[in-house]
């Protein structure tokens, strides 16, 4: 096997320390201000996406199709993008946990009745600020336990 190791100096490496730059602290503040301008749009997008998540998980008896699981995965990803401009206590952590659960479901063929219902409900409650942060942490552990159980039925584990 041929391996070529090159020393490449990129434009970013050449330019980032050139004279005339701005203070990094100011750059971060400016970026945060710019993101603040997007917060209303982000809240709207989060609420819209939450409705979509609720629709996809409405029937606890039905396992979402592969396409629907991909949509859920993408929905979580989109809402996480929005969290850059909106600070809702515990919401990003809940989204990460829901992402882990959906990921585990995507890798497994089984369905535990209502596996996604608590996840969708928790997202709505945390979005509204109806759950205290310490309670959110406990409920996230519950979602992770469900994800761990799904992972034990994953195709990879089954055919090992």
């Amino acid at each position: 096997m041929t391996v070529i190791i090159r020393k490449v100096r990129t434009a970013l490496q050449r330019e980032y320390r050139k004279a005339g730059g701005i203070l990094t602290s100011e750059a971060i503040t400016d970026a945060n201000e710019n993101l603040g301008l997007l917060s209303a749009q982000c809240i709207e997008q989060i609420d819209f996406t939450l409705d979509h998540v609720s629709d996809l998980t409405a029937d606890p008896l039905k396992r979402p199709t592969a396409e629907e699981l991909r949509e859920l995965h993408a929905a979580v990803n989109e809402m996480l993008s929005c969290c850059a401009a909106v600070k809702i206590d515990g919401f990003a952590d809940t989204l990460h946990a829901v992402g882990r659960l959906v990921g585990a479901l995507m890798a497994a063929d089984v369905w535990l009745e209502g596996a996604l219902t608590p996840a969708a409900n928790l997202l709505r409650l945390v979005r509204r600020g109806a759950v205290a942060p310490d309670k959110v942490a406990v409920l996230i552990v519950g979602l992770d336990q469900c994800a761990a159980r799904m992972r034990s039925y994953s195709r990879a584990a089954t055919y090992q």
């Binding site: 391996v3 070529i4 970013l12 997007l38």
Partner: protein, 202 residues
């Protein structure tokens, strides 16, 4: 060895940098581009899909790419792999940050192995992104081209606890010598139990 990043210098100059943001979500694109605008990047290309991103990269020289890991039908990882293998100089060597909402180990490994320079988890924080940009700009990583991988060097040499002091430099560092075992060795049966799937009832 890849040197540890130097302390963040107080100034950064990204005025002449041309950046490309790739995200299928319009608001996601706004978030990436507004963050870069705040950092002083004036020339930002926005691609709402992989096709457009490829066409921009074919036409223009890009100095920094921020790319979502999920790009609709295609994954961001495939896009980065395409870019690294494209042989479009100098774009194929451009620093690429993959932004992911799902940071489980297999996802991060995939993002690393497609040739990205850094993986950043969502939600993006300007402070974290700035730190990562400084790190990538300041680190002297080689570029590797092989049959199985093309991209920035993925190897990081870990040299263990500094040995010039008996217990390292930090309070939490342990000694550099190995102590006595604290328990009995595991039996083969125990080891098998760790790696073989267990049957569970629903």
């Amino acid at each position: 060895m890849i040197a540890a990043p130097s302390p963040m210098p107080p100034r950064i100059n990204l005025r002449t940098i041309k950046a490309l943001c790739v995200d299928t979500n319009a608001l996601g694109l706004d978030i990436l581009s507004q963050t870069l605008l705040g950092f002083g990047v004036d020339r930002i290309f926005r691609a709402p899909n992989v096709e457009e991103a490829k066409s921009i990269l074919k036409k223009d020289t890009i100095d920094l790419v921020l790319c979502d890991a999920q790009l609709g039908e295609e994954s961001g990882h495939d896009f980065v792999r395409w870019l690294r293998l494209s042989q479009m100089e100098p774009n194929c060597h451009v620093p690429v940050f993959v932004i992911t909402g799902h940071a489980l180990e297999p996802e991060v490994t995939k993002a690393r192995d497609c040739g990205s320079s850094f993986v950043v988890t969502k939600p993006i924080s300007p402070a974290v992104l700035m730190q990562r940009i400084m790190w990538v700009a300041g680190a002297d990583r080689s570029f590797i081209e092989s049959d199985n991988y093309t991209g920035p060097d993925r190897r990081f040499k870990f040299e263990g606890v500094p040995t010039e002091l008996p217990r390292g430099r930090r309070k939490g560092d342990g000694g550099s010598t190995l102590g006595e075992p604290t328990g009995a060795n595991m039996s083969q049966e125990d080891l098998d139990g760790l790696v073989k799937p267990q049957r569970l009832s629903l």
